[in-house]
């Protein structure tokens, strides 16, 4: 992966990190864009146990299918019992009509099926879904669904796995954007605990976010 990163951007790519306990991640090659024959383009981020989740979404009136599906899931669950995030790059699944919504839902359900021990609470799947890439094309959904269990098998907590996952969400980005940190809290109940926070992001064009 490093060989494709411009020299001027290498300094922004971490060589190590301290990642939060209980999370595992993977980046897997699907080939959402046929021209992509080697780079990972399916990211899977998982909490080993159901966790709290929250999100903010674009306020663009044309909300992509994954935005709608993810918002519905978080509302249904009131932000509780979430297991992870499944993301493809290469196709945004935006302005794709009902089929787009079905595809996004299928991604969320397939990702959640990787955790068969979770109780069926009647609230549906437990995954946030994201997509990024070209607008107005349908996802090659079968290719994606076929690789989700492989993505689950690839889950790992190493720095290398986090970096590969950050790479998997990139489109025209020239480098993966990944940070991690540790922190403490001042309250007496937390004073002796060292917490971790990790984050990855992507974006290089069509960037003027106004999320709510």
């Amino acid at each position: 992966l490093d060989s494709s990163i411009p020299e001027s951007k290498q300094k922004y790519v971490p060589t190590s990190g301290t990642y939060p306990k209980g999370f595992k991640v993977s980046g897997t090659h699907v080939g959402v864009k046929p021209a992509n024959t080697k780079f990972p383009d399916l990211a899977f981020i998982v909490s080993e146990k159901p966790c709290s989740a929250a999100a903010v979404f674009t306020t663009n009136k044309f909300q992509a299918a994954p935005v709608q599906i993810s918002r519905s899931m978080l509302e249904a669950r009131k932000g509780e019992g979430v297991r992870g995030v499944i993301i493809n790059s290469g196709c945004a699944n935006a302005v794709t009509g009902r089929r787009g919504e079905e595809d996004a839902l299928a991604m969320g359900e397939k990702a959640s099926s990787c955790f068969p021990d979770d109780p069926d609470d009647g609230l549906g799947h437990r995954s946030i879904v994201m997509s990024t890439g070209v607008i107005g094309q349908h996802l090659p959904i079968n290719k994606i669904l076929d690789r989700i269990h492989q993505a689950s098998s690839n889950l790992d907590s190493s720095h290398s796995a986090w970096l590969t996952t950050a790479r998997a969400i990139c489109t025209t980005d020239t480098f993966p954007k990944l940070l991690s940190t540790t922190f403490t809290l001042p309250g007496s109940a937390h004073r002796d605990v060292v917490y971790s926070l990790a984050g990855m992001t992507k974006g290089a064009g069509m960037i003027h976010p106004n999320m709510a």
């Binding site: 951007k9 922004y12 990642y19 939060p20 306990k21 209980g22 999370f23 981020i45 909490s47 080993e48 966790c51 709290s52 989740a53 929250a54 999100a55 903010v56 979404f57 674009t58 992509a64 935005v67 993810s70 009131k78 932000g79 509780e80 979430v82 992870g84 995030v85 993301i87 945004a92 302005v95 994201m130 997509s131 990024t132 607008i135 025209t172 980005d173 954007k177 940070l179 922190f183 403490t184 809290l185 309250g187 937390h190 605990v193 060292v194 926070l197 990790a198 984050g199 990855m200 992001t201 992507k202 974006g203 290089a204 064009g205 069509m206 960037i207 003027h208 976010p209 106004n210 999320m211």
Partner: protein, 243 residues
């Protein structure tokens, strides 16, 4: 499109997580611009699993979970968590700007002494979106006229937010700049243009990183925005990108 995922092992229940995320977003990812276009897919999600356990007490084998952070903006843990999350989100958002398509410059615009945060943010956002400001920066041109123009057409400002006679605009070298010792380059002071040392301006604009400082002189509030320049390469990349 902007996508971002944050994960923490701190114990943050959904109500607190949601409010903390909104605060952080409004001071980070909602304060960046590359090309002024808002995507159909922008999403920022945060997961908190509380897996960081309390250290076990002597003689005990078990590790208990720490108590949850309350959804109380006055609680010290909430305040500390908010600061950590906001700072971290700003650093992450700035990486996006640094990778702007075709970008050669990373610019922070700081608008201060504004009547409200909303006014300061609206002005910073307008400067960050201005194609003429962005192309001037690409051309290493200290063109403060374009900055003032953008300030002047910012929509929905409160009455009296912009008073030309109170406006001061400067370029400020960043900490690692070779120009740092020369201090801020004042372009406009209380509405009066300064005589600009073109050689100094040229040196300052050689830097990859630059700060634009705008004092409205009409209040006490402030906001920051981060953006990049606009280059030939941006057009090349997006002229080739097919829907």
């Amino acid at each position: 499109t902007l996508l971002a995922i944050l994960c923490t092992d701190a114990p943050v229940p959904p109500p607190a997580l949601s409010s903390l995320l909104k605060i952080a977003t409004n001071k980070s990812f909602n304060c960046i611009s590359i090309d002024g276009d808002t995507s159909t897919n922008d999403t920022l999600a945060i997961l908190a699993n509380g897996a960081a356990a309390l250290p076990s007490t002597p003689g005990s084998q078990s590790q208990d979970s720490a108590p949850a952070i309350p959804n109380d903006p006055k609680d010290p843990d909430y305040i500390a968590m908010s600061r950590v999350l906001t700072d971290f989100s700003q650093r992450l958002a700035q990486l996006v700007v640094r990778d702007g398509e075709g970008a050669t410059k990373f610019v922070e615009v700081h608008v201060h002494h504004a009547p409200s945060v909303a006014d300061a943010k609206a002005i910073a956002s307008t400067i960050a979106r201005s194609p003429l400001v962005k192309t001037a920066l690409y051309g290493k041109d200290a063109n403060w006229g374009r900055i003032l123009c953008a300030i002047g057409y910012t929509p929905n400002l409160s009455e009296g937010a912009v008073v030309p006679e109170k406006m001061t605009v400067s370029f400020v070298p960043v900490d690692n700049s070779a120009s740092r010792g020369e201090g801020a380059l004042r372009l406009l002071v209380n509405g009066e243009p300064e005589r600009v040392d073109e050689e100094r301006a040229a040196r300052l604009l050689q830097d990859e990183d630059l700060k634009i400082d705008v004092s409205l002189g009409t209040g006490m509030e402030e906001a920051k925005y981060w953006f990049c320049d606009f280059s030939h390469e941006y057009v090349t990349i997006n002229g080739d990108y097919r829907t």
